[in-house]
């Protein structure tokens, strides 16, 4: 099975920022992402109980080339980090290579 090296970027932030973050990563060149609900959490921005919309968080997972990951993190740091609860981290991962275009999908 051929594998490719890429970056798995995980961003956890406030629910109200979901549209903003989606727009940000698309502009930075991400080809896709996965969104997961976060039940609750606690940190610098206090207790995020997940009970009200303003209190909910979500997690975005992206697999992107290193350059795109860098760009996304820079933009997140510039636009979201000053005002919103946000945690971002990255892993180097190996991803199953995409099937050649000729075989469909």
């Amino acid at each position: 099975m051929p594998m490719e090296k890429a970056i798995l970027l995980t961003i956890i932030t406030e629910r109200v920022m979901e549209p903003t973050l989606k727009e940000l990563v698309e502009r930075a060149g991400a080809q896709g992402y996965t969104i997961e609900d976060v039940a609750s959490g606690w940190g610098k921005h206090g207790n995020r109980t997940g009970q009200l919309e303003s209190d909910q968080s979500f997690k975005m997972l992206l697999i992107v080339p290193k350059a795109v990951a860098q760009l996304i993190l820079q933009e997140v740091e510039r636009t979201l980090q000053p005002d919103y609860a946000i945690t971002a981290f990255q892993h180097e991962v190996e991803v199953m290579s995409r099937a050649p275009a000729s075989s469909g999908s």
């Binding site: 009970q51 009200l52 919309e53 303003s54 209190d55």
Partner: protein
């Protein structure tokens, strides 16, 4: 005699199931119980309550005709704009809050709590008092108006500051196109779209529509509201721990502001020709503070404002106050001034 009536009204309110379920939610939180209303059910209950409220309001507007209610609508817009302006100046100059915090909190008080509205309708119906049914449409007016005025206040105040001092002490980020996301949220958020949609559906389908949906949207309403109040008690209970941290001024504001707003709402309601029940409901709407739509909108538009202030004030103090004391107080006032 008069005091006796007010105490009676408060006593009558406090023994109704909705405030008691709310108290149970708070108690469960204080006892660190595992009690939890599942998220999906909570959203389902919201859809149900706002759907039912909207359907009735829409059908009632059709009944009376939209032209017959322009005076109350005008009163509603006045309340939605004047309450946040007054609140802003009180918080900014008496409470010494920052521009962002003062504007965000004030916007919450200009906006409205649909749950408080629903509990008030049940309180009145238990006393056989019938308010004008179309008043629920005003929820849809007040909810976004308060939020937009609150955000506008912050923007104007920051501009004035910049003009006066060359620059503001507070971080000023120019958010071009701020109105669009706020209006989008105000019109298409879960609560708003179901309320607006149900108003239109109620208007189009009229009394027949109400009749066919009555077994679901009518008969079950009180029970569903009880469950919703239980969840609100759980949410508010968790805010109680933060009450002491917000300071004496905000605690006093969160109790005095609804009394002042509620009084103005009742008087205005009476002057524009609403019944005692209707004036009570306008008072309740004026007095209540949003804690679902407004916090989300403020988080987007005024992120520099501290959410702990506006959530604790509106959800931890004003909401329980209105549920326990405010609703009977506004009713008593309406009866005192306008009751025959």
């Amino acid at each position: 005699m008069v005091d006796h009536t007010l105490l009676d009204a408060i006593g009558h309110n406090l023994t109704a199931p909705m405030p008691l379920f709310f108290a149970l939610g708070i108690l469960a939180t204080l006892l660190r119980s595992e009690l939890k209303v599942p998220d999906a059910l909570y959203i389902g209950l919201t859809l149900y309550l706002l759907g039912a409220i909207g359907l009735h309001g829409g059908a009632e507007i059709r009944e009376v005709g939209i032209l017959a209610i322009w005076m109350p609508i005008l009163a509603c817009f006045m309340l939605g704009s004047l309450i946040p302006i007054a609140g802003y100046f009180i918080l900014r100059y008496m409470g010494k809050f920052s521009i962002h915090d003062a504007a965000a909190i004030a916007g919450h008080y200009g906006s409205v709590s649909a749950v408080t509205f629903a509990v008030a309708t049940q309180f009145l119906s238990s006393l056989q008092v019938k308010p004008e049914g179309y008043l629920s449409a005003f929820l849809a007016i007040l909810e976004p108006t308060g939020v937009v005025v609150g955000i506008l206040l912050a923007r104007i105040a920051l501009q004035v500051e910049i003009r006066r001092h060359g620059e503001s002490d507070e971080p000023t980020k120019t958010r071009a196109g701020w109105l669009r996301p706020v209006l989008h949220e105000a019109l298409t958020g879960t609560g708003s779209i179901i309320l607006l949609g149900a108003l239109v559906i109620g208007y189009v389908s009229g009394p027949d529509g109400i009749a066919v949906t009555k077994p679901f949207f009518g008969d079950l309403f009180k029970g569903v509201l009880c469950l919703f109040m239980l969840e609100m008690g759980l949410v508010a209970g968790r805010r109680l721990a933060e009450v002491r941290a917000v300071g004496a001024f905000l605690i006093a504001f969160a109790i005095c502001m609804p009394i002042i707003d509620g009084t103005i709402g009742v008087l205005l309601g009476g002057f524009v020709g609403l019944s005692v029940g209707g004036a009570t409901m306008l008072g309740v709407m004026a007095a209540s503070a949003s804690y679902i739509a407004a916090p989300a909108a403020m988080r987007i538009s005024l992120p520099e404002a501290n959410p702990s202030f506006y959530l604790t004030a509106s959800l931890g103090i004003t909401f329980p106050f209105n549920i326990a004391m405010g609703i009977p107080l506004y009713f008593w006032l309406a009866k005192l001034v306008f009751g025959s």
